[in-house]
């Protein structure tokens, strides 16, 4: 009673766990310990219910019919756009484009803005710690246009900003950077990166796949030109995501795909395109998942990002400390600013063996290169063991991980 203060500040993780039905299941005869949240998060009941509700009660195509169901579906679809706008504090709803996820958001920018604006001799800057989805689209674009891809190096998981400054020039047209590294957990100093890029006259795209679930995102304060994230990493359904772009930039961009929804008028001679954001949403969108995204974002906001962040921070600190007990362990990525990801290797042991033996105890971690092969190459390793935390994880689960690791090593060494 006296502690009402701490109760509002602290997450009631056991109450939260009740809301995620997947956490009740057993794996290999043990209660599931789910530490693969950077790959995708589990879904709370409200999200699952919202999906069932949509298909049960108001499934219809959007923006077309005048019947009741179509109006309800359209209203929910657009309400979700508003929720996404609010979630990242975009200035207007026209700046929120529904995509399949982060990957499609980045590809959309590369394909439309990139093809129009990148010319031979231009340069695009990315970093050494990018996910493949923020490397390959730019490689393809550079190859097509005769442009050059430049890479900001990192050391122990931190970007070398002095090197970045040296890379920037009048040739730089775009800087595309991961906000939070999925392989290391590093939070990159995007504000400074953006400011420097703008001074050089370049635009900036932020890969928010990992950051959007942990950090407060304010695209206006950040001043990025593009920001992409995926619903499935924010406790929402798969198959839907958001691309944010500044309005004047989106307006000047050619459309992505052609089809229904994205047009104003079509004749056989000429087509005029629809207004934002529909210009970039050709065809029937993923209505069901888009609608449910709102339920996920509302849920996260209701629990409170700050509380979630504090809880995850505590877990990460605890896990980092505990894991050091394991002989031969090396933590990969020791940036000062990190969220929710603990990546490590163990001497003389292949990550895959650890992954198999942990799974045998119901503990789900990710092993491998985490779609960041260039980064793994920098560290001189084929991959890591990665435990990534979410709001519903507990210290007891971290303890199980440590015991699991000890047992695995006893078997392997």
């Amino acid at each position: 009673m006296i502690q009402s203060n701490t109760i509002t500040k602290e997450l009631d993780v056991y109450a939260i766990r009740q809301q995620f039905p997947a956490l009740n299941r057993q794996v290999k005869g043990q209660p599931l310990v789910y530490f693969d949240n950077a790959a995708t998060t589990q879904k709370p009941q409200v999200v699952i219910d919202a999906l069932v509700d949509y298909y049960t009660n108001y499934n219809a195509n959007v923006h077309r019919g005048i019947h009741t169901l179509a109006e309800e579906a359209t209203a929910a679809f657009e309400a979700s756009r508003d929720a996404a706008r609010q979630f990242i504090n975009a200035a207007s709803r026209e700046e929120i484009i529904f995509t399949r996820g982060t990957t499609e958001g980045i590809n959309l920018v590369a394909f439309t803005w990139g093809r129009k604006n990148i010319k031979a001799g231009d340069e695009i800057i990315i970093t050494e710690m990018e996910h493949h989805s923020n490397i390959v689209p730019w490689q393809l674009l550079c190859e097509e246009k005769g442009a050059t891809l430049r890479v900001i190096p990192q050391l122990n998981g931190e970007l070398l900003l002095d090197e970045y400054k040296k890379l920037l020039s009048s040739r730089t047209k775009l800087v595309s950077v991961v906000h939070v590294s999925n392989a290391l957990g590093t939070v990159n100093p995007v504000e400074e990166i953006i400011k420097l890029a703008h001074q050089a006259g370049a635009l900036v795209m932020i890969d928010g796949a990992q950051s959007s679930v942990h950090l407060d995102i304010d695209v206006q304060a950040m001043d990025c030109d593009f920001f992409a994230f995926s619903s499935h990493k924010v406790y929402g359904p798969t198959g839907i995501g958001v691309l944010y772009g500044k309005k004047h930039i989106l307006e000047a961009m050619p459309p992505f795909q052609g089809g229904g929804e994205m047009i104003k008028e079509v004749s056989m001679l000429k087509t005029t395109f629809n207004d934002l954001p529909y210009k970039f949403e050709a065809g029937t969108p993923n209505i069901g998942d888009a609608v449910v995204l709102k339920a996920a974002l509302d849920y996260v906001s209701k629990v409170g990002k700050e509380k979630i962040r504090n809880h995850e921070k505590e877990l990460l600190a605890y896990a980092t400390e505990q894991v050091q007990q394991i002989p031969g362990i090396r933590i990969i990525g020791s940036a000062a600013e990190k969220v929710s990801v603990l990546s490590f290797v163990i001497d003389k042991v292949h990550p895959q063996d650890i992954g198999i033996l942990l799974d045998n105890r119901g503990i789900a971690v990710r092993t491998g290169h985490h779609c960041a092969q260039p980064l793994m190459f920098c560290f001189g390793i084929p991959g890591t063991i990665r435990a990534s935390f979410a709001m519903y994880n507990t210290k007891e689960e971290v303890d199980k991980l440590i015991v699991g690791l000890q047992k695995a090593l006893k078997m392997l060494l």
């Binding site: 290999k28 895959q352 063996d353 198999i356 033996l357 045998n360 491998g368 991959g383 392997l412």
Partner: protein, 157 residues
């Protein structure tokens, strides 16, 4: 020659051995042990062209064809995978191309390894099996081309 066990007999042997284990830990300990005991492949074989694709760990597989029989050697940087290959070698190595091509390898399922290993890893296992069968097929084709009708005799030996 005639006392050589058939592929099916070896598969049955492995299934029987695994039936003695009460826990998954015991099974894995056994597989890890097999992995550790599998002779390392000489470095000259650890080439990109000998890598089996579709596996999270690196797996090298080479084959030899001696007196109508295919002999396999393999290695991996992950020990559980190495143990699994060791079992595949025990089952398939030293048999004719036809026997290898026709092997059902039902033991993998019977000892619980397909359901127990997650998709990506069991794909690795399947990739190894596929590669071993491909070697057998290649030798069979080569054999038919160079020996013509005689390949049928080799088979009945």
């Amino acid at each position: 020659m005639s006392d050589q066990k058939t592929i099916q007999e070896i598969e049955n042997e492995i299934v029987e051995e695994f039936s003695l284990f009460d826990s998954w830990d015991d099974k894995y300990e056994y597989i890890i042990d097999l992995g550790k005991k599998l002779p390392v492949l000489e470095d000259k074989h650890k080439l990109d062209e000998n890598k089996v694709r579709g596996c999270q760990s690196t797996v090298w597989l080479v084959a030899d064809y001696i007196d109508g029989k295919v002999h396999f050697k393999a290695d991996s940087d992950a020990v559980i995978v190495k143990g699994l290959i060791s079992m595949l070698i025990r089952v398939l190595s030293g048999h004719t191309p036809d026997e290898i091509i026709q092997a059902s390898l039902g033991f993998i399922q019977k000892i619980g390894m397909t359901t127990h290993l997650a998709q990506t890893r069991s794909n690795g296992l399947l990739a190894m099996v596929k590669q071993m069968k491909n070697f057998a097929l290649a030798y069979k084709i080569k054999n038919t081309m160079s020996h013509g009708e005689r390949s049928a005799e080799t088979k009945s030996n």
